[in-house]
């Protein structure tokens, strides 16, 4: 009897492959955001992945249709995500304007200020994620340096818009505050300094041997795979997919200012990181052009009607394509608002990429995707 049961257990052991299960999240040092991965590993190589994002649903889509009128909507969606606050407020304002039917009348100066807000937002987000990427590689010093320089950008936003994180400068019908001449000058001076720290960042991420050896060839997403999974933003551009909503949608003046898309072919973590670094140069250039091309003047128009059409807006958030849809019915609150955040588009590919990667490479791989779970939960 005893031997029989012994045989049984042995059989079970042979049948079932025994993996070491390593949980990652819902709170983890490398990614302090509420997403949970469960990795089944063998000799620290990830074999199976499960994930769960059911932690932070805040019902913002519902709140926009039941609690806040359309004028307040940009302020509400600014709170979807702290890092890409401007990136959310702009398409929300634009989509409301389109639903009202006044999107053609927005003055150029307002568009330029929106672009400046978005690009400053992008700069600080890219600094944040690249610093964080260095940190999860165990490179605390680069993290400290990049975040020290990021403080400059935060101060810039503070000076221009009155707050470090929540710019709240965009409203339906234009923007809230203009950038006076003296601030423009300070902004241009600061941009030179920021450019220097971007150069520092580029030097580190291209030259530093330990960092490059960690990131090179890690989590390669080929172009076919990127297209198949419909990934967006810097991740797609790092795989050679030419997609950028700044030129695809026309709420801003990007086409007029000669926007150049940054793409790379490698598709690994290092490429994703370098695309972000190089986008920083482009952002700085766009801010300069935006200031140069427009004069102080009208910054908003009066909004008298309520949203009555269905409209969409696509915006390039720091993390990728952000999609807003609004269905207005003529009432003060829209009937349905849909927010498709970039991370939601990038999540499906993660399990594919993470398979057969060593566990100690998982944090850099995950951070190179730049997930923002607070956005995803909404």
């Amino acid at each position: 009897m005893a031997s029989e049961s012994k045989n049984k257990t042995r059989e079970i052991q042979i049948k079932e492959k025994v993996y070491t299960t390593i949980p990652f999240g819902s709170q983890h040092v490398a990614l302090p955001e509420p997403i949970k991965f469960i990795f089944d590993t063998e000799n620290e190589i990830v074999k199976e992945i499960k994930f769960d994002i059911a932690y932070v649903h805040r019902g913002i889509e519902k709140a926009l249709t039941t609690m806040f009128d359309f004028r307040k909507a940009p302020y509400v969606v600014g709170r979807v995500c702290g890092i890409c606050s401007a990136a959310h407020t702009i398409p929300c304002a634009v989509v409301m304007e389109r639903a009202i039917g006044i999107d053609r009348e927005i003055p150029d100066r307002a568009k330029a200020i929106r672009m400046i807000a978005l690009e400053i937002n992008r700069l600080q987000s890219h600094f944040l994620i690249n610093g964080h990427l260095a940190e999860v590689c165990g490179y605390e010093n680069v993290f400290m340096h990049i975040w020290r320089d990021r403080e400059m950008i935060m101060d810039l936003a503070d000076m221009l818009f009155g707050n470090r994180v929540q710019y709240d400068v965009v409203c339906v019908g234009g923007v809230n505050r203009d950038i006076p001449k003296d601030k423009e000058r300070v902004l241009l001076d600061k941009l030179n300094e920021i450019e220097k720290s971007v150069e520092f960042m580029e030097k580190i991420f291209t030259k530093d041997r330990t960092l490059v050896s960690r990131l090179k060839g890690l989590g390669v997403v080929s172009k076919e795979m990127a297209l198949e999974y419909g990934i967006v933003g810097p991740m797609a551009r790092a795989s050679g997919v030419k997609t950028d909503c700044r030129v695809e949608d026309d709420w801003g003046l990007y086409k007029d200012l000669g926007f150049e898309m940054v793409t790379m072919e490698e598709g690994d973590s290092l490429a994703r990181c370098l695309v972000r670094v190089r986008e920083c140069y482009e952002s700085i250039r766009i801010i300069r052009e935006a200031i140069k091309s427009t004069e102080e003047g009208e910054i908003s128009i009066k909004v008298t009607a309520n949203p009555k059409y269905e409209a969409v807006c696509r915006n390039e958030a720091p993390r990728g394509e952000l999609f807003y849809y609004v269905k207005g019915t003529g009432g003060i609150m829209p009937d349905r608002v849909r927010i498709r955040t970039p991370t939601l588009a990038n999540i499906p590919i993660l399990p594919e990429v993470m398979k057969d990667v060593s566990y100690n490479d998982i944090p850099p791989l995950l951070m190179s995707f730049d997930p923002c779970i607070a956005c995803t939960g909404r």
Binding site: D52, I53, A54, Y55, H57, G59, E61, K62, R98, A99, G101, D103, E224, L227, E228, Y229, G230, I231, T243, E248, D249, D250, K308, Y309, E310, A311, V312, R314, E321, F323, Y325, K327, D335, R336, R338, R340, L344, A345, I347, P348, I349, G377
Partner: protein, 128 residues
């Protein structure tokens, strides 16, 4: 961007209306990863009827496409995640938010078990 007349109540996207039975074929017809970018899944509930909506982008012309199909409450909705690979995440999300019975959905993917059921549903409430 192609603009439809405002009388139809739609700005800067074009609509393909179809039925629930035909939606898979329709999407198979449209979707080609090289030419069409998949944006997302959405649902809409006007209180009497539900609608499932798939958003795409035609890359060449930058036109946003909406493929939509109405259906009744409780009807089983086919999944398109075998045609459009990344669709499953958002399908499960709207399945949770609207209480739609989508093929292959995972319960409580987006909401916690304690949260209200189907918060965005208007008619035919599911209750707690």
């Amino acid at each position: 961007m192609k603009e439809l007349p405002p009388e139809k109540g739609i700005r800067n996207f074009s609509v393909i209306e179809t039925t629930l039975e035909k939606i898979r074929e329709k999407i198979r017809e449209i979707y080609d990863p090289k030419k069409v970018h998949y944006i997302g899944v959405d649902a809409y509930d006007d209180g009497n009827k539900m609608e499932i909506r798939y958003w795409f982008l035609k890359k060449e012309s930058n036109v946003v496409l909406l493929v939509k199909a109405p259906f009744d409450y409780g009807e089983k909705v086919p999944s398109i995640s075998d045609i459009v690979k990344p669709a499953f995440v958002q399908e499960w999300e709207i399945a949770d938010l609207f209480g739609i019975n989508i093929e292959g959905r995972v319960e409580n993917f987006f909401l916690t078990p304690e949260s209200p059921r189907a918060p965005l549903r208007r008619g035919d409430k599911l209750g707690k």
